[in-house]
Symmetry: C2
Subunit: 340 residues, 2 copies
């Protein structure tokens, strides 16, 4: 196959606070014929994820910042359309970090591409429940928070890609689960996934009100907090933590667009007396769990114990809007852009 046209997105400017559509710029490029060792791939799906906001700041972090004018990257899944690499054939299914574009040509390693075996799952699941967000939930809950049967688990962002998987893994592991999400529709989703109690944080406009709701939902306290949002939720979780409780700090989306430092939890002193363990983690650190994760997850999906929801926007043009939607709470489950 010959050169393909590909629309792609870059930062036009570094967002200040909440990102705007004008912070992004689309351009047309070409996915050339592959040279030796390269493959050409047409993406069918791309992922937008909260962690990308962090890469839009110009600062040192665990991944380098996005540069203005450089094509953005992120999770994507697609099919090989031409190959000059011995391990790849036309039609192979490939996950990669070459998102935010329709097609691409590169050496697989340069795009962290991996050929995907047949799983029986829809392709989009490879970016969600059976992909990075799924492994994040799995590793965070089972390893970082050392989940035990019978634990009372609190998870924020419970209707999101990671959170909704956390709810279900915790239920599979025979735990009591309290999920927090924003709005009736999302709360209904979390409930339908098996959560024992749901907190609609939009009904609680103050820390005290949120704390009251958590205390009512977990009168004996919580053993595990899976944190996706930080802020008041974190402070309430510390307040309700039982002795020896474990916190898996996955993200703090409430803080991602803050333009000034925000005060940390005022009750952090309880970490000492309650002997809390508060551990941050990044999914790539736990890549060794991937084989066991995929095996467990495929089994849970097949047995009907694991459901997944997707919010889909259509076409490469919609990618920035999909990304912004993450911070407006527009997604139930995994937010995806359909390209193919």
């Amino acid at each position: 196959m010959a050169t393909q046209k590909s629309k792609q997105w870059a930062l036009a400017a570094r967002p200040v606070g909440m990102p705007k559509l004008s912070d992004f710029a689309m351009s047309e490029a070409e996915a050339t014929d592959p040279k030796d060792g390269e493959i050409q791939v047409r993406n069918s799906w791309m992922s937008v994820d909260p962690y990308m906001r962090g890469r839009m700041y110009d600062r040192e972090s665990y991944v380098p910042p996005f540069q203005i004018g450089e094509t953005l990257t992120g999770g994507a899944v697609g099919k090989v359309t031409a190959s000059a690499h011995p391990d790849y054939a036309v039609g192979d299914l490939v996950t990669s970090m070459a998102g935010w574009r329709e097609a691409w040509t590169a050496a697989p390693d340069a795009m962290m591409a991996n050929k995907v075996p047949q799983t029986g799952l829809p392709d989009s699941a490879l970016l969600g429940v059976a992909g990075m967000p799924g492994l994040t939930a799995y590793a965070g809950l089972l390893r970082v928070a050392a989940l035990k049967e019978g634990d009372t688990v609190f998870v924020s962002g419970a209707a999101g890609a990671v959170g909704s998987t956390v709810v279900q893994i915790a239920k599979i592991k025979k735990c009591t689960v309290i999920g927090s999400a924003g709005g009736t529709e999302k709360c209904n989703l979390v409930k339908s996934l098996g959560a024992d109690a749901v907190i609609d944080y939009k009904q609680h406009n103050s820390y005290e009100s949120l704390l009251g709701a958590l205390k009512a939902a977990a009168p004996k306290g919580i053993d595990v907090y899976f944190d996706n949002v930080g802020g008041d939720h974190l402070e309430a979780a510390i307040e309700c933590a039982r002795p020896m409780a474990r916190f898996a700090e996955c993200g703090m989306i409430s803080q991602y667009n803050a333009t000034e430092p925000t005060p940390g939890p005022r009750n952090i002193i309880q970490v000492v007396g309650k002997q809390l363990s508060i551990r941050g983690f990044i999914v790539s650190t736990h890549a060794d769990m991937q084989p066991q994760f995929l095996q467990d997850m495929a089994g849970w999906i097949q047995s009907g114990q694991m459901k997944f929801e997707e919010t889909v926007m259509e076409g490469i043009e919609a990618a920035p809007e999909a990304f912004l939607g993450l911070f407006q709470g527009r997604n139930k489950g995994k937010m995806l852009v359909k390209l193919g």
Copy 2:
């Protein structure tokens, strides 16, 4: 031996903010002749420790609060003066929680009393470097913070009973050590214990200034933070933490007398990206390490690798003043009251 007179201290009122001498009341009581299963002990030393402040609040915690008018408790060491217990003989050395008094009669269990084998150490060391503060340093550094050879370790309250032991254990384990303490005299002590760098926090009146000093002392960042003080020190430690750094949260003395909640670290979001582990602990949880601790500590003291400093006040009358001194930074090393 017959009944002994014993002066003892109780709370006269719950302290609000910084405790005052008038919050304490002394009375005279008697240590009676021991009844069956009891021992009579004359204390030679008692301990005052920062954790006692927490027990002066009327709130649920890992140990129940002190009650107004009830004799205070705390670490003490003394000698058996009469015994009606088969395992104890007159002259036996005993550690107990029956501090804040000159003499006492009770069943050993009721006072958490333990007969102490001959160690060759001075009795007072059993309340410090070879006692609870020593084990706190040992367990916090080696287990909670999972210290590794070559780590860069930051410890606050480095001239205190726990901190000064942390400094020396970390040096024995071939680590680079930065200690923070208040004032030239204490900083000189920390330096003399082997610290590679010392920060006199009294020379740094703002968070930014403290942070600058820590960055200068640890230009490549820190791997371990042993926290005795909380507040700005904790925030600066998060800021300077390397990826995967481990924090042993032993205490937050800067917060103990706060009358209102104080903001937590404004950079707590870094816990996620740096994958920090922030773990609170209480020494009693790690009591299983006691035999190994005593063996290591006795060896280190004998070989001259472990030094210890004591600040001694004389007589039971001085006990509240000694306790208040902890919050005024009046102690170098372990603060003790000599009773015998």
